[in-house]
Symmetry: C2
Subunit: 187 residues, 2 copies
């Protein structure tokens, strides 16, 4: 039998970038073949169809995001400091000229109307991220307060993820975060 001449993960990483930038509908299989070097036959052999490929790419992105949260929590001196770091990193990202927001949020917005499986998947991933924040925050605050702060945090993240598309928004955003989430400076 012929040997695979690609790594599933490498393909997915290229596909993530494409779908992330352009969205689901605007990314064609032809573009995917160019970005990955795979022919249509190989793509459909390895990943059943476009939708399954997208879902797997999105799942990989979500896993990266969640890993990144845990990593920053582990490296910071406190939960609140870790969150502050996460937010400043987000602001930093938004300065890039090829900034394209959050893949999960974009998917949610693009595919919500069709009652799509992919929308539900993206939505569930975002909910699980909120839960992760709530769990960490519950080390510092009581469970009710932790959940409330996690909801605030997600709202602000959603906010800055789209405010980031505005030109020269980085400076404003930093001040905005401090004003909206004063409790981040508590511990």
């Amino acid at each position: 039998m012929a040997k695979k001449n690609y790594q599933r993960e490498d393909v997915l990483d290229n596909v993530i970038r494409l779908f992330w930038q352009q969205g689901y509908a605007a990314s064609s299989i032809q573009q995917i073949t160019k970005a990955t070097g795979l022919k249509p036959g190989s793509i459909y052999h390895e990943f059943e169809n476009k939708e399954k490929l997208f879902q797997e790419a999105l799942g990989r992105y979500a896993a990266f995001s969640i890993d990144s949260i845990h990593q920053k929590m582990a490296n910071a001196t406190s939960v609140n400091m870790a969150i502050k770091q996460i937010l400043t990193d987000l602001v930093e990202q938004s300065k890039a000229c090829d900034y394209c927001g959050c893949f999960l949020i974009k998917t949610q917005l693009e595919l919500a109307s069709q009652g799509n499986t992919l929308y539900q998947f993206a939505s569930a991933q975002l909910a699980s991220i909120e839960k992760i924040y709530a769990d960490y925050l519950s080390r510092v605050y009581n469970i009710e307060q932790a959940r409330a702060y996690a909801a605030q945090l997600m709202t602000v993240i959603f906010g800055i993820r789209t405010y980031g598309y505005q030109a020269d928004s980085a400076n404003t955003i930093t001040q905005t975060i401090n004003a909206l989430l004063p409790w981040l400076n508590e511990h």
Copy 2:
């Protein structure tokens, strides 16, 4: 000469709904002909092409949004009360089963990567809305504070516009708004 058998505004209203729900790429001319009752020829006769049609629809949507802000400001007892009303209306909207967020935000996210004219248009409209809030707030606060509050407000609006996609989020959002923007209760 044949008489027009449609009203430009009616066509646009139908088109707004379609583009708003599905986005630019996922809405085909064929769907537009169905939604409006116009044949392709008429559409291209009245609106040069798909992009121009989209832009006009988006412009009309933006004008509605801006009108709505001025209207609520006029009807409220104070600027801060008007903003509170605007936010609770937003939360109310998010409860609808056919909720599809904000057309401007969705456009911005969908079309940002291509350096698209439509993205720039959406982004500019959102910036002008922020300016409108800043102007109203400057009646109550000094200019610097007004601008800062407007940025906070926009961030929170962006946030709840996408948090609204999460299931059963309405109750949480109301509490979140109160926590994030305590100054709304000042006047």
